[in-house]
Symmetry: C2
Subunit: 335 residues, 2 copies
């Protein structure tokens, strides 16, 4: 299959990224990062979570962030909520709300993360559907966390994944709702490119009309290889985080990488002629700012590797950046 001509990127850095950081993040910093992201051409930004301030104190300022940030008409602002109380807060705050049913493919992780088994989660879906309907929203999405593997349970098999999707699909159908999109989240960075392809193909065989969104983590370095494999199978929608935010709280040097970095995916796509409508220079400025906020380097590669456009426009010649390459290569002996 040939690569898509364009992809859509959902930025999740301000939400997923900051919750994992050690220090406090000021509301002002969150707002400023969102305002900067507003000008990069990104069409969807996940700005905060409506979760319990007791469990996730970093997100206690959700309403405040939404009140203070600039809202641009061509950008969708999304939030995360894990229970119906959270959904009600989202409904009160004029954000884009997808009629999404949340699922987890690992029972252990489901209990740890949402305090519910897979079976209980499925059982409760009809309550979600009721609330969405009462709010005038169509239920048309599934989101499956830990879809490719789990640090607590190990491998998640393809039949497990298909089975839980099938169950959720049936429940939606019984309640007269039609699922059009499935988000598959590699929450703990377990996927490999071949598994990505197989999973996408099985989903498409079973539900040919469905659109897939991928949420990938770069925990073990396979994030971009997985994204490439997915695009080869026609996937056009990805959730990513600026700078690769969402890494380990122990900071960049010791820690594991987080989400795949928005700029790294945009860069790979632009190099292959896939349009993202996102300004790479603008993204790198956002990463610089995000690094200032968190006080350490973020795992994105492009910030240190440098963009080619600089070379193409001869910006590097006789400047600091070329100097790096000079000392590198003049001390080198080959490849």
């Amino acid at each position: 299959m040939s690569l898509p001509k364009s992809i859509k990127i959902y930025e999740v850095g301000p939400r997923e990224g900051f919750q994992i950081e050690d220090g406090p993040i000021s509301t002002g910093d969150k707002v400023e990062l969102i305002n900067k992201l507003n000008h990069t051409g990104i069409s969807s930004i996940e700005v905060t979570s409506f979760v319990s301030p007791k469990w996730v104190p970093k997100m206690a300022d959700a309403e405040k962030v939404l009140h203070l940030m600039e809202k641009k008409p061509n950008v969708e602002y999304r939030t995360v909520y894990l229970n119906i109380n959270g959904l009600r807060r989202a409904l009160n705050n004029n954000v884009t709300i997808d009629g999404v049913l949340l699922l987890t493919a690992s029972n252990t992780f489901s209990k740890r993360n949402t305090n519910k088994s897979i079976q209980k989660t499925l059982y409760d879906l009809k309550d979600w559907i009721t609330v969405y309907k009462e709010s005038g929203l169509k239920v048309d999405q599934l989101a499956l966390m830990a879809a490719f593997g789990c640090n607590f349970e190990g491998n998640i098999t393809l039949p497990q994944t298909v089975n839980i999707i099938q169950n959720a699909m049936s429940i939606a159908e019984e309640n007269n709702e039609k699922i059009r999109k499935i988000k598959l989240a590699d929450t703990m960075g377990w996927a490999n490119p071949q598994q990505i392809k197989r999973t996408i193909n099985i989903v498409k065989e079973n539900w040919p009309e469905i659109e897939i969104i991928l949420h990938l983590h770069d925990t073990r370095g396979l994030g971009l290889a997985n994204a490439y494999a997915a695009m080869e199978e026609g996937v056009r929608e990805f959730e990513t985080a600026i700078g690769g935010l969402g890494g380990c709280p122990f900071a960049a040097v010791k820690g594991a990488a987080g989400n795949i970095a928005t700029e790294d995916l945009v860069f790979m796509c632009e190099e292959m002629g896939i349009d993202t409508s996102i300004d790479l220079e603008g993204l790198l400025e956002c990463t610089k700012f995000a690094e200032e906020i968190v006080g350490h380097r973020l795992p994105a590669h492009l910030t240190t590797g440098g963009m080619f456009s600089d070379v193409r426009q001869s910006k590097w010649i006789n400047q600091e950046k070329i100097y790096y390459n000079k000392i590198r290569w003049e001390n080198n002996d080959g490849f």
Copy 2:
């Protein structure tokens, strides 16, 4: 095309990795790393360079390293040389010598790295062939540096690449030698997966019998995606460096990534059922030692992300590693 059943990995860390580091590396440390690599199942290790001690003082101990290190019968030990004097030193030291003709696809980089233009390099090939022949070696390989792009010249186009290969092929043929292998080196990390596929396909169309070795850098994060794309086109041989050695002299935090990390490629392959015959646990011990030698973190992902085998064998449960995931996920609110 389906993925290969197995691949061969050429370890280049001890050679390419250390030359880039800031501080001095003792001969003893080099020898110990090679001795450790000897026990991982790696079948080829590039141990040093026979280059001018004036220009590359780090490699002045080449003969000493070869004298002191353990040699295992089932491991090939390779070296780099850029001129005929270097080749003669290699010939005196009982290492595996490929009858390889060195080329560079970027004229500027060719001059900087080898002090010769592309034309002069091509002109001199017959001298190399003569020396190889006199030494009883068959000339059967080309190695093309900067094959996908150059920090000094920007893009290297497919016609440029094909043209230089064609020229070198003709020269080999005129001298009654047959090229069987081409090493394509993405010296400065410019390749993208689509370009990798196109290049491989063009090479295979023009020279169907040729085997391809890829030498990839992860400068901009696309290293593993490029390796995956190459394997999808049937490439079975890769040069990699333990820990991702070969990065920037300014150390891991500030610097760009180097070669793709041996353990990251092995991990990706093993996850996809591609045999490498390499012991991943052993590799991680080598990386730990290499990090002690250079005094900073190396860019490999697996060292921080953790291997799945630990989870599969429940090694993580109630131990430090699972704790990392616990605090991570209990503070999390979703994906």
